[in-house]
Symmetry: C2
Subunit: 217 residues, 2 copies
DNA sequence: CATATTTTTTAGACTAATCTAAATTAATTA
DNA sequence: TAATTAATTTAGATTAGTCTAAAAAATATG
């Protein structure tokens, strides 16, 4: 059984990796956990020893399928508790995070199945995120090209359709890599170019580019 | 804020002391916590340093009113969660303890008030125990003399009416001290003597004795 | 009442998770 | 490509909670 700290690190790795899409660096992880790189290194070794992640010195961390399942079971608990807090206890959506961060570490599969049933087997949580099932599986979201996304919506880059190296270099330059979240600010009717937010930076991309970025929403 | 371990020790002290009625010895506490006396001593010093208990070397521990309040707030959480598990999630009463032991350590007064409201402000939990209010107060239960108790019922010794030293010596001999739980097995119609259980031992007591033992049920 | 036994405390060590500071490796730049 | 800088790892220390073994205090016994 994982300790509370191990679960929190694993969940952070899962999220930082964009759901297992890309590697996570030690400093990224340390910052996400509000701790120091040395502490992150120690925990990385521990989780690698439990086969939840793979670790190559100086090159970062990837979640294994076992680690992904474990992370998704924590995510499931978090999202079911948030749903409970909002739907049954009348919490506002912005009050639930801190408490759900605690509740997600309660160890009882039976409890979560009962809660799931009590809530009517919800598919999404109050923030619109998908709730994984009790085997740690999350419905693979259908991929959508970025140009199909409406203003205000956001998604995570899953893949790039065209493998032209000029496109990939350009995407790399603007920070558009798999696992990265994009928000659509607006679309120009004239040329169908889009203004999007990547890493808190606003960028304009042409229709040719946005057609080639595959996202999950 | 108390750590999970501190909360568990404090709760154990509260219960072993019969709700603050009598002192708790180091070995008792160690056994209740499934740990060693040395560990109990360490934690006792820590809790005494936080003014939750008073501690006199070699003579045991007493909860302060501050400690009592803190313990009762944990008890409140435990009992509200048990009520939730049984009434809302359909748990059986014998499945709830382990999960409630975890849930009672979630830190959020707001959550407990909301849960209390959701459950309709229950006064007792599924085991029939009183639920303390959100200030850590528990309704003082009316005292009842042991001879008024019916078969099958149980209660905790709160005080002894007669201070005759022969009576007290006798009570001490059969293990009937304040804070100790008694269960009534049966009553003889002939002389109104009672068969009771104290510390898993069956004992017969006369009406003269049972009239003088004041209990809370 | 002196000795033996039990209970409790103290001393020192161990693990998990953390930190700082130093050393090492990788990446960047001149 | 050599030197500099940035990222990462290692080494050693710290805290909370635990343990074992030894010392000290209280209690029981002869």
């Amino acid at each position: 059984m994982l300790s509370l700290t191990e679960e929190n690190y694993l969940k952070a790795i899962y999220h930082l990796s964009g759901g297992g899409v890309k590697a996570v660096l030690t400093n990224e992880l340390a910052e996400a956990m509000s701790t120091k790189a040395a502490s992150a290194t120690d925990m990385i070794k521990k989780l690698a020893g439990k086969s939840l992640i793979t670790y190559e010195k100086y090159y970062g961390v990837n979640v294994t399928s076992q680690g992904k399942t474990a992370a998704l079971l924590v995510v499931r608990k978090h999202r079911l508790w948030e749903t409970f807090l909002v739907q049954k206890l009348g919490f506002h959506w912005d009050e639930v995070h801190e408490v759900a961060e605690q509740l997600e570490h309660i160890h009882s599969a039976h409890l979560m199945d009962k809660l799931d049933e009590f809530l009517g087997f919800p598919k999404i949580d109050p923030h619109g995120d998908l709730i994984p099932d009790n085997k740690g599986r999350i419905k693979t979201q259908p991929q959508v090209a970025l140009d199909q996304l409406k203003s205000g919506y956001h998604g995570v880059i899953q893949a790039v359709r065209d493998s032209d190296s000029n496109l990939l270099k350009y995407l790399d330059k603007i920070g558009a890599r798999p696992g990265i979240r994009i928000k659509v600010l607006g679309k120009e009717d004239y040329d169908e170019s889009m203004e999007i937010v990547i890493d808190d930076k606003k960028v304009f991309v042409s229709k040719e580019v946005s057609q080639n970025i595959l996202m999950t929403i």
